[in-house]
């Protein structure tokens, strides 16, 4: 038997009160895919993400994460929330934040174990922050904070990495560095990035899921003028990505 898909959605409907947010959504995300979820604000991206995390339940249809209900399957998801919902002055170091990803793996009572600390330190090294372990989160740059949150998602040893608007506050150079890191992680993990910024769609991503009440899935090569119109309506300023990115 094949191992189950990281995410499988069948004929899913979701309403907030009487307002339909997602209608007849079916999609699959396969192992080690690098998928981008795009769509206008209010189109249902966040709702779909919260359904995958088991924070919402669909009124109709099915959603499975690694073949299980999301509430169980989410143990295998590493999640990176939007930074905006965190308190910028909260008294934690980069190390403290990464350790939080060990909850659920570590013991319940008492402090974190030596093993937890070892894994957290190693992961901070992997995202290139070994020198900033003891620094307060508040003193880090936007790109560094995102790396800390990625390390926090990774220490739970996930198989699927789910990132909600990871580059919304970053400048282009830092954004590209972050995607280089994700491409590297993609060797071992399935990655889903949510963004409203279609400009990012680049050669990193193999598949684009367009969410605007309904869902269409396209290989990146198919993204063209018609599809963007279909998603965003008429007045969209389209950016072409003919040039390859240069890497350092």
């Amino acid at each position: 038997m094949n191992s189950p898909y990281p995410v499988e959605v069948e004929h899913l409907n979701f309403l907030y009160g009487d307002i339909p947010v997602l209608e007849n959504v079916s999609l699959t995300i396969g192992e080690r895919e690098f998928v981008c979820m795009v769509g206008p604000n209010g189109g249902g991206k966040t709702t779909l993400l919260r359904l995958m995390l088991g924070l919402l339940e669909p009124q109709q249809g099915n959603i499975a994460v690694f073949g299980a209900p999301p509430v169980e399957g989410r143990r295998l998801i590493g999640y990176l929330p939007q930074y905006a919902h965190l308190d910028a002055h909260f008294p934690v170091t980069a190390f403290d934040v990464v350790l939080m990803g060990r909850l659920g793996k570590t013991r319940t009572l008492g402090l974190y174990t030596k093993e937890d600390k070892h894994i957290a330190r190693e992961m901070l090294g992997r995202v290139g922050l070994e020198k900033l372990v003891k620094r307060p989160l508040a003193s880090l740059s936007g790109g560094q904070r995102q790396r800390v949150l990625i390390a926090r998602a990774l220490v739970s040893e996930p198989k699927l990495l789910l990132l909600d608007e990871p580059t919304s506050s970053l400048d282009d150079y830092v954004e590209r560095e972050l995607y280089d890191l994700l491409a590297e992680l993609n060797q071992e993990l399935t990655i889903v990035v949510v963004t409203h910024d279609i400009g990012f769609v680049s050669h990193y991503v193999k598949k684009v899921i367009c969410v605007n009440r309904t869902v269409y899935t396209h290989p990146t090569s198919e993204i063209d003028h018609d599809i963007i119109h279909q998603m965003y309506g008429q007045h969209v300023h389209m950016i072409r990505h003919d040039q390859e990115h240069h890497h350092g």
């Binding site: 999640y79 929330p81 909260f90 008294p91 350790l99 939080m100 909850l103 307060p136």
Partner: protein, 277 residues
């Protein structure tokens, strides 16, 4: 000041007062840090004002129905825990504006307390000491209760430090990692209720919120971690209560008011300085 140290050697009531302040500082440092970082100051204020309902009820039952063992401190604990649970439940489950809900509890707690106290023969002068505290009336029995509450708070905070930090920082992430975030939220509110009751005996219901939050807010400006913030705010709380007590003794001022004014002034001076973290 010299007068205070001399009196301290002679009067046990003054020794009790000083010890009460020092012991309460442990709880204050830990729980104040939760309250400030989780931004539930107003909720803690609501719990504090609900305490009067329990105190009034206990006093009434003691005097009118002869429930002699029902110490007002037990009434205070009872009402603080109920208020913490009910406000917490509404915050999680009802889609109401939480500050409005807290306001309702804030006022109702006071109203219930005042009704019981006015119906209790002969004891209405106590109202002042409940509202504004009287650290000089702390008994040996009160001290033991304070130590017991301290131990409960200290042990719980140590055993679940990981979870509390994670829930204060990002409760949704904690929940996704399998931490029962609602349970820890209730537990945090319960610890807040215990601490509020502790501090009420020192500075009274009306001013408790200042002593709970100012030391932690001060410490937060210098500390980059929750654990160091707890330790520093406990030390600051001990320093503020002891010096407030010492300063108020000579000129015969109310100690609670002196402590609160001192804490507020130090805080306000500090926020005009540059932030360290």
């Amino acid at each position: 000041m010299a007068e205070f140290f001399q009196a301290l050697q002679q009067h046990t009531f003054l020794q009790h007062a000083l010890l009460a302040g020092l012991f309460a500082s442990i709880a204050c440092g830990i729980v104040g840090t939760y309250v400030v970082t989780r931004r539930i100051t107003y909720l803690a204020g609501g719990i504090a004002h609900c305490v009067l309902a329990g105190i009034g009820f206990a006093r009434y039952m003691q005097v009118v129905h002869n429930w002699t063992a029902f110490h007002p401190l037990y009434g205070a604990l009872f009402s603080a825990l109920i208020a913490a649970f009910v406000i917490g439940w509404i915050n999680i489950h009802a889609k109401e504006r939480i500050d409005t809900v807290i306001s309702a509890f804030w006022g109702m707690g006071m109203a219930i307390g005042i009704l019981f106290i006015t119906k209790t023969p002969g004891y209405s002068e106590d109202l002042m000491s409940y509202l504004f505290g009287n650290i000089l009336l702390v008994t040996r029995q009160d001290l033991w209760i304070i130590v017991a509450l301290d131990l409960i708070i200290l042990v719980t905070a140590f055993l679940f430090h990981k979870q509390f930090v994670a829930v204060c920082f990002d409760d949704e992430f904690a929940c996704l990692r399998g931490v029962p975030a609602h349970l820890f939220y209730y537990l945090m509110l319960a610890l807040t209720a215990l601490t509020v009751v502790l501090l009420v005996s020192i500075v009274g219901i009306v001013m408790v919120i200042v002593l709970l939050t100012m030391p932690a807010a001060l410490a937060g400006r210098f500390c980059g971690r929750m654990s160091s913030m707890m330790i520093l705010s406990a030390l600051l709380c001990a320093l503020l209560t002891s010096s407030g007590l010492a300063l108020s003794y000579g000129p015969d001022l109310p100690a609670g008011a002196a402590i609160i004014l001192l804490a507020g002034i130090v805080y306000l001076i500090t926020i005009t300085l540059k932030r360290n973290i």
